[in-house]
Symmetry: C2
Subunit: 453 residues, 2 copies
């Protein structure tokens, strides 16, 4: 029979077992932590009506979307988790309790030009809190505090969650009579890190058509740096000139205060007046998260406050705040940067049980006993040379081999070999279990991510 | 703005938070149990090249598949997890260790005619063990023993895993000189439960063209019932007439013996000579699993032994054994039959923390403390009437409310209200934590599925 060359589509991540195990560990931390903060898991379909997904319209999205017909239906793969959430909340609003807090970890699809580190199928890990009409500002601090907790649980310390406020920005531009050009200006300002203040000034003057005075005031504004308290106190200069600005400053001050109360240390969050998030549906606090040692990869976790989650589907006003981790991309970058801790076990089992008798009954019973205590056990039943069996365990990184021969069975023992040290002992099952449980727990103590100095 | 009516595609399951929580609990049991038996998680793309997915061809699959173009690519959504596994193993064979044991819980897509209980997007939860050239028979017993463990952990007791062997069947039909008609005959025999022995006999004679003697011998064969030992001993009658039959009998006997060693009680597995699994790629043991009280829904978990997993992609012989739980359908049926235990908590939080002061700092610190001990905590920060706050907790089924007012803060206490009993006590945080931990643990003791008598 002619064979077809097996292949996986480019831009679609498909991991070998060991890295997959590391990704699963990150997902488990996400699920656990989101749950700890009172978020409920949701799982919406990956396929939706194209009309629903494209309600907002817009060029880039429409070009990238995977869209297809099936029978009479015009279908598409979701390109984010926010639009399906909006649909879900609009559709089920009567059956939900607000504030509605949900997390969703799911694959989304974008037919981008394939390039290194860009994926066409990738996981997003989102949390959102949706209010009914109103939503307290505390939520805008809690959301980044959850990201802080997750990143620390991943093992990251060298990251900063950058926080800004769209009301503050919009109020500021209103003061300068630049409301109609604020979107352009924010796009220019966003380039500050990349091109520097001089070039930003040139673009503001030449392309955005600002006066020198306007450009200078903007540069003065965005060059405010220092501790969060310092930044906030410098902003007070502009207070009293525009209501929206004052409200934004009040919100930013509250979020900063609450973030401290949530235990987020100052080195992990910064008021940063240059970030704006392009999307025009953010209306309050906005977030971006950067890895200090890898600023080049941009934000790995972004979001913000919005006033109308589901405006395309319902008249009901549903304000909310949310944030999204680009999990597949983050995982890819961590791998590229050698930051995935290689000491954490990725073996599919804690123990490879080798029956040394023709009758497997005793081995099967021992396996059941081991599994009953939580030891992940594989029985190796294949007819292979002893050396091949041990090299199988080695290849997979299984930490323990357990041998069960006639002699052990007769004496009510089993032989446990620590495959890292080579040490072997014969013990009653209960002691063997205690030994392996201790060893396996010790292997699990590291974190998924290891920062290199 | 004109609103678009929000909707979810028919045939695509989208759950409300409470049932979603129950489904998540089942998935967690699946992940934990599969891992306990030494299976590694895999996650292949939901989209593959259409050519790869359709390598085998075949009418029904091709009609049901979601297939579409993007740029020059001919793409399709996977319709099962077996074809992607075959591709994965063929593609990565050099980097895997065999036997390769993997589990995958993932969504698959079939554009079937939408009808009640039939889904177009649904989860399958698969395990497979792939050998390199050979695979020991023990694996064919271990696979159903894992299903037994999972179903018991779900809370099911009234189910039977039916086991048969294709070598036994093929050998039997060879004895009767009916090898060329065996597929037709098996399809007829498969209807025994539905139409009865007389009608099966009529079809065998009239449609399948058998002689009276052949039909009688088949009916005699498939009418063998009794304990597993009885069935196996009745099969001995035919031994010595066909090598394949003898080998099948040997395998079936070994699987039966090993299943006992794995601790699967006789009431949960049965040698059943009528099951065959339609697919012609099964070559040894085959399984079907039925719920005793709901035989009408057919098999909820099926699989078997095959000799050539990846024959369309590689010359390498990769025999294996696998089984698949139709999770979405099973979950749907359990819901319809009122078998999902309503006593298990589906709340997104264990505790709703109500700050009774204007300054939330103390509440935020207490929330952090509670979360640090594993208590899933939501701070309720909205400005609502006290009664509305409690009715929010009620609606979600959150078991505890914690109040923190000036008085409590001053005295270093918090007030815990058990929302089921109405009992309220003021305690230091450590004691409040112990109280809630105990209460939450007690709520978790039931199983996901509750069988009604």
């Amino acid at each position: 029979m002619e064979k077809l060359r097996p292949r996986t589509l480019s831009g679609f991540m498909e991991l070998l077992p060991a890295p997959q195990m590391q990704l699963e560990r990150m997902m488990e931390i996400l699920r656990e932590t989101y749950a700890l903060y009172g978020f409920t898991p949701l799982d919406t379909p990956a396929v939706e009506s194209a009309e629903i997904l494209l309600a907002k319209g817009g060029g880039e999205t429409e070009k990238q979307i995977y869209r297809f017909q099936k029978g009479d239906s015009d279908l598409a793969l979701r390109f984010d988790l926010t639009v399906p959430l909006a649909k879900y909340v609009a559709l089920h609003a009567g059956e939900l309790a607000f504030p509605f807090r949900r997390y969703q970890i799911g694959k989304v699809y974008r037919g981008e030009r394939a390039q290194r580190g860009r994926f066409r199928e990738f996981y997003q890990a989102d949390i959102d809190i949706i209010g009914d009409g109103k939503l307290d500002i505390l939520n805008e601090a809690e959301i980044p505090s959850i990201i802080y907790t997750i990143f620390r649980r991943f093992g990251l310390t060298r990251f900063v969650i950058r926080v800004n406020n769209r009301k503050l920005l919009n109020g500021f531009y209103a003061m300068l009579d630049l409301s109609d050009r604020s979107a352009d200006i924010m796009r220019t300002v966003d380039k500050l890190d990349k091109i520097g203040a001089d070039k930003v000034r040139t673009i503001l003057l030449e392309d955005n058509g600002l006066t020198e005075a306007q450009a200078d005031e903007i540069l003065q504004f965005i060059s405010i740096t220092g501790s969060n308290a310092e930044v906030l106190s410098r902003l007070v200069t502009w207070r009293g000139k525009n209501e929206l600005f004052d409200l934004g400053l009040e919100e930013l001050t509250a979020v900063t205060k609450h973030l401290s109360a949530f235990g987020v240390p100052e080195e992990n969050f910064a008021v940063d007046l240059t970030i704006a998030r392009g999307l025009d549906y953010y209306t309050g606090t906005v977030y971006e998260t950067t890895l200090l040692d890898h600023p080049e990869i941009g934000s790995v976790c972004s979001g913000g406050r919005y006033d109308n989650l589901a405006e395309y589907y319902t008249d009901r006003q549903l304000p909310g705040v949310g944030i999204s981790i680009g999990l597949t991309r983050l995982f890819y970058v961590l791998g590229e940067q050698q930051m995935l801790n290689p000491d954490l076990p990725t073996a599919p089992a804690d123990c490879l049980l080798l029956p040394m008798t023709e009758d497997f009954s005793a081995a099967v019973r021992l396996a059941t006993q081991l599994r009953g205590t939580g030891i992940r056990t594989q029985i190796y039943a294949e007819q292979k040379k002893f050396k091949a069996k041990l090299s199988y365990a080695d290849k997979l990184g299984i930490p323990y081999a357990v041998f069960l021969g006639e002699d052990e069975i007769a004496r009510g023992l089993c032989s446990v070999k620590d495959l890292r040290t080579g040490e072997q002992v014969s013990l009653p099952p209960a002691e063997a279990i205690a030994l392996m449980q201790k060893g396996v727990a010790a292997l699990q103590t590291g974190s998924v991510i290891r920062e290199t100095m």
